[in-house]
């Protein structure tokens, strides 16, 4: 167990290191000059050189990487080229938005996805199952940004025109400031983010549950005379949910790194929006910070998933 954890953490650190190298290399191999971009188009070569020196960009690449790496070990991701705020503080200020968005959406998609999956698996090929399939395929085919725009169109523009002031068009209110405002601002983004995942989860649950219901021990439970509901929930769902847990961990891990599209469409000041802004601004330290944090969430989620797997399924041994 400890060895397993140690091995996974070591591999995770390796992955993070590789990603940091990849991001770093990407920005230095690229034929562009952040100093020139920051100094402005009309800046004299002297100004550009000054900016370059101030940002430490005149040092050799390896030295720069070394500074970056030593900072990283101390939890210091450096300073933004633009706002001169520390990357750490930028990330910390954006994190609550992304966490609110991700966790709220996760609740919606897990509940609805598993429910739909169970419904359609309990009556395969029934009308319920068929409509669920339509829902699933629509969800899988729907680009997130399109769904977000549709929701804004109907629940903001159209509703507004007809005198219903249900939702704002975008923005964010912290929970601590106004719980209702927080909910109001996040409901449409939650639905947007949840729909695609709900489709994946209902498909996952359905498939896995059907597979489980074909097993011998389920037949035994049925032949013992247990009620169908009891068979489904007590015996079937328990093992059928293992793949759902796996997917859940990975999805939450990925989204915590920033739900880029959803945040952009709804103007939520989360990590995803920060990422798009810093990419447009060529703000290297912030980009590296976000990429690393996102990757760290994914790596962490994978480890948690493996642990959960072992708890749920006693056959899995962590070796």
């Amino acid at each position: 167990m400890t060895r397993f954890l140690l091995r996974r953490v070591l591999f995770g650190v390796l992955v993070l290191w590789l990603i940091s190298v990849a991001t770093f290399v990407l920005f230095f191999v690229a034929p562009h000059d952040p100093a020139r971009a920051i100094a402005g188009r009309l800046a004299t070569p002297e100004t550009v050189a000054l900016v370059r020196h101030r940002l430490g960009l005149d040092e050799p690449v390896l030295v720069q990487y070394w500074h970056f790496l030593t900072g990283l070990v101390h939890g210091d991701l450096g300073y933004s080229f633009y706002s001169s705020a520390s990357v750490d503080s930028l990330l910390v200020s954006r994190l609550p938005v992304t966490i609110s968005l991700t966790l709220g959406a996760a609740v919606i998609w897990v509940v609805s996805g598993v429910l739909i999956g169970v419904l359609s698996a309990s009556r395969p090929r029934s009308p319920v199952d068929r409509s669920a399939t339509v829902f699933v395929l629509t969800g899988l085919s729907m680009p997130t940004f399109l769904l977000g725009l549709l929701l804004i169109y109907f629940f903001f523009f159209r509703a507004h025109l007809n005198g219903f002031d249900w939702f704002p068009a975008g923005g964010y209110v912290p929970f601590t400031q106004s719980p209702y405002g927080w909910f109001q601002h996040l409901l449409l983004p939650w639905i947007t983010l949840a729909l695609v995942s709900a489709a994946v989860y209902s498909r996952l649950t359905r498939g896995s549950l059907l597979e489980t219901l074909g097993e011998d021990y389920i037949r035994t439970a049925r032949s013992k005379g247990l009620s169908e509901r009891r068979v489904l929930f007590r015996h079937g769902l328990r093992s059928a949910l293992t793949p759902v847990v796996t997917q859940f961990g990975i999805d939450v891990g990925t989204l915590l790194g920033g739900a880029i599209v959803t945040e952009t469409v709804f103007g939520l000041p989360g990590l995803g929006q920060l990422a798009v802004q810093s990419v447009t601004n060529q703000d290297l330290p912030v980009i590296i910070g976000i990429v690393l944090m996102a990757a760290a969430f994914i790596v962490l989620a994978n480890i948690v998933v493996d642990l959960a797997y072992a708890v749920l399924d006693p056959r899995v041994r962590l070796a």
């Binding site: 060895r3 397993f4 140690l6 091995r7 070591l10 070796a319």
Partner: protein
Amino acid sequence: MSVPLLEVRDVVKHFPVRSGTLIRRQVGSVHAVDRVSLSVQRGETFGLVGETGCGKSTLARCVTGLHPVTSGHVLIDGEEITGLGRRAMRPYRRQLQMVFQDPYGSLNPRRHVGAIIGDPFAINRVAGGADRRRQVQELMELVGLNPEHYNRFPAEFSGGQRQRIGVARALALHPSLVICDEPVSALDVSVQAQIINLLEDLQAEFGLTSVFIAHDLSVVRHVSDRVGVMYLGKLVETADTHELYAGPRHPYTAALLSAATPPDPDLADRSERVILAGDVPSPIDPPSGCRFHPRCPRAQAVCAVDEPVLTGAPDAPPSHQWACHFPLAPGERLT
């Protein structure tokens, strides 16, 4: 005695058992085949029997070069073939072919029969185009398949027919030695006889030499000139077929024989049946001394210490050898 067509000398095959987290290291090995020697003369059929997991299939794969041997030598016509690369091995492969156990697994389900039987020609770059097709269809006819089924897929054939396809593939390049690895054990009993008869006919027709592996003594008795008995990676007894069946010397052979289904159940004396105690021990950590001693009714203290070597006796023909400290006397029954 002339040079045997196949000679196996002290062949050892261990499969490493690895464990470890970051650095995987070998913690043990499966002693699948341990210092086995045997030889097969041209034109002879050698039967190899033993329980599942005794190493007989592994030995076959060592002989055909599918598994590299851990140590020891395999000689074809007196020439060493162990450790030869794929290219150097080619001329020998044409002489040495194999019929596999599972007629379902040994035929690629996504390729039609013509392509499967044509593989030996394609791989060895002999006969192409229409010529290959003609030869493949001749082979199909030879093994009792309808040549018009050239374009069908394995799933469209029964188990017995599939094994005929496997036989046709093995015979394509007219090998001198065919190794049949339990060719009938996956088939229905009613089909087994057909395939065995086919193999016997083809052996006679082409003057084939063969090694016939089975876990069923009655099948081996039917087809073999000589028989070797394996237990946990060791060859424990070898003799001419009639000699072995008439007077087994090794207690394990005797137990196997007593357990074989008698030809006529009414005549069989059920009390003669010897039931061996316990299960086959793990080949990862085989018993010391004689590997059979934990289950042997005749075992004594020395059996756990000294490993018996394969020897004969003055009262037996020279081809009859066994590895036992306390062999049965000729005609003696195991109790």
